[in-house]
Symmetry: C2
Subunit: 262 residues, 2 copies
């Protein structure tokens, strides 16, 4: 989707002496002001670039597959950067983890033969949204799942979810009306809702996601699950292609970036 | 085991107008200076007694099935107290959770017909110890599992574990030599080591536990798993009945109180 932007935003560091590095990064979003670097804030990108600078001795810009908001977690975010080869992948994993705080870990590193850009080369992503659906909260899921104490109608949520699978205009489910894109059309390949004990796990795979698309979809589905929105109302909100027509956004702390496809 | 102490330590609050209350409590141990109340420290018992006082309007002493150290977690700790009946069990759960911090939750409450004491009436307990056994740590298991980056010999640990099952003198596995008990004999009913992906879960059930017994047993088994202690050395340490003969204690943050049997 964003492939056309590639040439314009291509890293100036890419040259014949540089190699593309690809990192798989996991982080607990709770302690970060999101992923994207911001002055004076603790961010995942900020911590990563500090660790890279400690290893290479100069500033290196690390490009994630996409931003995640404050409180959103990542099981396997992909981050790329271009730099002169310095360590093998295995040594680089250890060196980076040694220099990083414990709430962010490099799971894997790869030096790629061809130039690689985590964002522009991404073909699709999978997110997971976790809801604890039982009367009492779980101290072990604090900041890690949305707590919904009343029983949810899973069948009704699954029925509405089926409407979203495929290629559609998801304008009703993006929170950023000022964000001018060529298109708000995306293709959802899969949207499943699985019960694991008291945990309800929403899994959404798409070729690309609009800003807050998963949290907006989950917010609408949960409204159906609570019995506060029916199938017709959901359909109307979806087809209105206006954010204001759709229910509220689900909170950040239930969301996990699970996989990026290349 | 501690049944003989019952009459001497019986709660002075127990009377005809009082009822015994039994709470199932889950807590994330990370933010607490252990379970037992201590002046000026944040403890689970301290928070519970504050919540009880807010509901009843006077100080109520809450008795856990046993103490847990700083950093140790509970999936289902049992706590009892005697007080005049004020709320139904369901209302009490909600009222307590409303007054408690989010890292401790009341999962269940019961008003018992017969006097009930969480410690003296306990017939046995089950603890779980979680080890993450893979090269890279997991930000989601920070403070929730012991990270052991090198591969462990699970077969050797299981072989040694079998030696401990049954009725034995566990003096080598208690950290408190000054703690004068009639006996250091306990009966381990079960000691299993199960692999769940990269997670190694030790489960220990016994009629009673000596101070730090699970962490000391796991510490010794992990030394075998790392190849730093053989079966003979383990046997000798166990039969020496001296703490100084056995390997070091495993850290608190991998330990979970899982169940108390009555």
């Amino acid at each position: 989707v964003a492939g056309g932007q590639r040439d314009a935003e291509k890293s100036p560091q890419h040259s014949k002496t540089n190699r593309s590095h690809r990192l798989t990064v996991s982080y607990l979003g709770t302690g970060f002001s999101g992923l994207q670097i911001q002055p004076g804030k603790r961010t995942v990108q900020g911590e990563l670039e500090k660790a890279l600078q400690q290893i290479w001795g100069f500033r290196i810009s690390a490009q994630p597959s996409g931003r995640t908001d404050t409180g959103v977690h990542a099981l396997a975010q992909i981050v790329s950067f271009d730099a002169p080869p310095k360590h093998s992948a295995a040594v680089l994993v250890r060196a980076l983890n040694h220099n990083l705080p414990h709430d962010v870990r490099i799971l894997n590193a790869r030096l790629t033969a061809k130039p690689f850009h985590a964002r522009f080369d991404a073909k699709g992503k999978t997110y997971e949204y976790r809801v604890l659906n039982r009367p009492v909260a779980d101290p072990f899921l604090l900041d890690r799942a949305l707590h919904m104490p009343r029983p949810l109608d899973v069948t009704a949520m699954r029925k509405a979810a089926r409407l979203l699978v495929g290629k559609h205009d998801f304008a009703s489910f993006t929170s950023n009306p000022g964000y001018e894109r060529e298109t708000t059309v995306r293709t959802i390949r899969r949207l499943s809702i699985v019960q694991r004990g008291p945990l309800l796990v929403f899994t959404v795979s798409a070729d690309g996601f609009l800003y807050r698309m998963v949290r907006n979809i989950v917010g609408a589905l949960l409204k159906i699950g609570r019995g506060h929105l029916d199938q017709d109302g959901f359909k109307k909100a979806f087809h209105a292609r206006r954010r204001s027509a759709a229910p509220e956004t689900a909170p950040a702390h239930g969301l996990y970036l699970k996989q990026v496809r290349y």
